[in-house]
């Protein structure tokens, strides 16, 4: 169960115009602006849901994921994941969640993927039998096979992403946060990742929070959609609610654009 109540987080961004004189001026006094990444955000996610978390770039999606995974401390508000406050009980909290950042890598670059997995096994203290069972299961489901014996640097993006997802599930987390897991993947890999997430949810009851810009991911996976913009929750519904915004849209991207426009983004 994930409970978020009036969460707020403000970032400081420094700004100046281009040019030498402006740069010299900025030495003395720097103009900083505050940007509200999260602005009184509240929602609740029940166990076993797959929630699509959408919004344009800079809406606060990643910030939310970072708060939920204990990396970022919010300015104010409450948040509990399985009864724990992520940034206060970080170690206990992260032992029970899995996170995939689509744009980052957790695998060691120049050793075979297997070695990275074993390191994670130690860090999460997964017992031998359970580890072997999980690796076997994940290898089957994600068709890893020989990939496990290949150094991460020699994998294609799609192959690597499959390994990254497996890496974040080695310790059987109950909750999985996926931050743009399909970014840059080809059609085949996207389909593989989607069907895997679906299956994992069905067989293990894993709660999934998924951010993405790919509306096809959302259509295929999400039983519920949260739309945020400028740090605020704008819509909480299912895909039909989104569809209703523009029933005539020719493509899913058009639909997303219409959705963002409808909420003034």
């Amino acid at each position: 169960m994930i409970e978020v109540k009036s969460l707020s987080k403000t970032y400081r961004v420094s700004r100046r115009d281009s040019g030498l004189w402006q740069a010299v001026k900025a030495l003395g006094r720097r103009e900083t602006h505050e940007i509200k990444a999260l602005d009184d955000l509240s929602f609740t996610i029940a166990d076993g849901e797959i929630v699509g978390y959408i919004g344009p770039n800079g809406a606060g999606k990643s910030s939310t994921i970072k708060v939920l995974s204990g990396i970022l401390t919010p300015d104010s508000g409450e948040c509990r994941v399985n009864g724990r406050v992520p940034w206060k009980e970080r170690k206990k909290h992260v032992a029970e969640i899995g996170v995939v950042f689509g744009q980052r890598s957790q695998l060691w670059w120049d050793v075979p993927v297997n070695d990275s997995f074993e390191l994670l096994k130690e860090i999460y203290r997964v017992e031998d039998a359970r580890y072997r069972r999980n690796v076997e299961e994940l290898t089957d489901a994600l068709e890893l096979g020989e990939l496990l014996r290949t150094p991460a640097r020699q994998l294609s993006l799609g192959q690597r992403m499959r390994c990254e997802i497996a890496a974040s599930l080695l310790h059987d987390p109950k909750v999985l946060f996926l931050d743009e897991p399909t970014i840059g993947l080809d059609a085949v890999s996207k389909l593989a990742v989607r069907s895997f997430i679906q299956k994992r949810n069905e067989t293990h009851g894993t709660t999934v929070l998924l951010t993405t810009h790919d509306m096809q991911d959302i259509e295929a996976l999400a039983t519920r959609i949260l739309l945020i913009g400028q740090g605020r929750l704008l819509l909480d519904g299912d895909f039909d609610d989104v569809r209703r915004v523009n029933p005539d849209a020719h493509s899913l991207d058009e639909l997303a654009a219409a959705l963002y426009a409808r909420y003034g983004m």
Binding site: S62, G70, I71, L72, K91, W109, V111, L119, I123, R125
Partner: protein, 267 residues
């Protein structure tokens, strides 16, 4: 502890992949040691009575330092960690159920130990076989040898605690370059990596001896040759524990503050 062992195993596997680098390192360290010994010998030949250490003590000091260089120098960092802080992959490190400090300490120590294990054996074997006074002598006494081992372990930990402070300073400065450029040459000098501390002017030598850097290379190598013995030796071991605690606490506090203001930028 277990993750330390895993990091160590991984680093060792990694290190074994780069055999050429290891051999090149051994040759360089050997050559460097010889040049240095020749230089000191020339000075000793001119005025033997004006030196603070006996020549054979000094030669053992040099060989030990060369053999243990990867463990005792101040500049062997786990580079991935700097990169991680810069590009935000540190986000993944924070999703692990262990403290960042513990994990990075284990990782850096593992890197250093695995490097030194690959490189020290040929140096020990060859220098032990060299004729007097060119070779590595036995430790002054069995007690000195035991104390040397303890002191070496402490020195390695003090060195790693120092590294961690540099890593965490990157949470504030982003680039490690400035800090490294300023601090490392000083640390190398004060820790006795360039010249043994007794060779410096008395008052400076004393000051450096009691600084955190004096608890690095300076400590185990002088205990080995019996240069620090009896109460001085015990004092040094206590000093090492003290500095390990202080550097550790400082690094830990720096991590704590750094993480509070950390925001991993970008989507």
């Amino acid at each position: 502890m277990r993750s330390c062992w895993t990091f160590f195993r991984m680093r060792l596997i990694n290190g074994l992949q780069y055999r050429t680098a290891a051999w090149a390192g051994v040759v360089t360290q050997f050559f460097w040691g010889f040049m240095e010994i020749l230089l000191y010998r020339a000075f000793y030949a001119a005025t033997p009575d004006r030196f603070p250490m006996q020549l054979d003590h000094l030669i053992s000091y040099i060989w030990l330092r060369q053999a243990l260089l990867a463990l005792l120098n101040t500049y062997t960092f786990e580079w991935d960690l700097f990169t991680m802080i810069l590009n935000g992959n540190v986000a993944y490190e924070l999703c692990r159920p262990s403290s960042l400090y513990g994990m990075w300490f284990a990782r850096t120590l593992a890197l250093r130990v695995s490097r030194v294990i690959l490189r020290c054996v040929p140096l020990f074997v060859v220098t032990a076989l060299l004729p007097k006074p060119w070779g590595l002598r036995f430790a002054a006494s069995p007690t000195a040898f035991a104390a040397f081992l303890v002191s070496l372990a402490l020195a390695a930990c003090v060195g790693v605690a120092f590294c961690l402070i540099i890593y965490f300073s990157c949470f504030f400065t982003l680039s490690s370059e400035g800090v490294r450029m300023m601090v490392l040459p000083i640390a190398e000098l004060l820790s006795g990596n360039l010249i043994p501390l007794p060779f410096m002017p008395d008052r400076l030598a004393k000051l450096f001896h009691y600084s955190p850097f004096g608890a690095m290379t300076n400590a185990p190598l002088r205990i080995y040759s019996g240069d620090l013995a009896g109460p001085e030796m015990v004092e040094m071991l206590v000093l090492q524990v003290f500095w390990l605690t202080v550097l550790g606490l400082f690094g830990y506090a720096l991590q704590h503050r750094g993480l509070k203001r950390l925001c991993v930028q970008g989507g």
